[in-house]
């Protein structure tokens, strides 16, 4: 289930929904929540503005979820991503994955958020509490992390 919306989401209700759907089959649920933090230690964020590409966002995230389900033994993941003006400490993104064995949920959940960061068409604009504004630039570390999922170094446990 992939949802892209402006309003806030209820992570607890979404988690409950996934548990309900898993019936007695799954015993592990891993969730990731990303929320607005200060841009840097000395640069407090006032508002984070998220622009997005409607339609492509949903399709790209769905593809990422399908890939995760084909690689690991999990139920259908839940992903919610917000756009628009988000304030300090508000939730931005939520990923939840349930599986019989915990390793599958951990890997699928981390893969989804890593891949989403480099492929889902969202762009963040920081508005600092001092008034300074700028578009956030993609971190090389994020692209490298996604590449590692597709080309793991030899010797890495799966």
């Amino acid at each position: 289930m992939v949802i892209v919306q402006e309003t806030d989401f209820d992570a607890a209700a979404l988690t409950a929904q996934l548990r309900e759907r898993s019936a007695g089959k799954a015993g592990a649920l891993v969730s990731f929540t990303g929320y607005v933090r200060d841009y840097a230690q000395d640069q407090a964020t006032h508002t984070l503005f998220l622009e997005h590409y409607p339609g492509m966002c949903e399709r790209e995230i769905q593809t990422i979820c399908d890939t995760a389900q084909s690689r690991w033994n999990t139920l259908e993941p839940i992903v919610v991503h917000r756009y628009g003006a988000l304030h300090h400490k508000e939730q931005i993104v939520f990923v939840a994955v349930a599986s019989a064995h915990r390793g599958d949920s951990f890997k699928a959940c981390e893969y989804i958020i890593d891949a989403l960061k480099t492929r889902a068409p969202f762009w963040k604009r920081e508005i600092l509490s001092g008034g300074k504004q700028f578009w956030v630039q993609q971190r090389d570390a994020d692209t490298q992390k996604t590449d590692l999922w597709d080309n793991p170094p030899s010797g890495t446990p799966s």
């Binding site: 993104v93 492929r119 604009r125 630039q137």
Partner: protein, 83 residues
């Protein structure tokens, strides 16, 4: 003389610099993303400082070698920063 246009979408900083969010752009026939990016740079010299421009065609990420066809939806943007 120009053929069926493509629909171009601009996002984030690219939209700010072009001053547009979308426009129709006539093309004479299929051309590569790289060739079209050259046309874009000619029309909007203010995009020059942007280090990395990415393309999506019909809502799929593509490389500069990909052919753009008349009628396509082409999006231009900097590397994404969601999550």
């Amino acid at each position: 003389m120009s053929g069926t246009p493509i629909k171009v979408l601009y996002f984030a900083q690219v939209a700010e610099l072009t001053g547009a969010r979308q426009e129709l752009w006539p093309i004479d026939g299929p051309l590569t993303g790289a060739d079209w990016l050259a046309q874009l740079a000619a029309r909007y010299p203010q995009l020059a400082p942007v280090q990395r421009l990415k393309l999506a065609v019909n809502q799929y990420h593509v490389s500069p070698e990909t052919l753009i066809q008349p009628g396509d939806e082409v999006a231009v943007f900097e590397p994404v920063t969601g999550g």
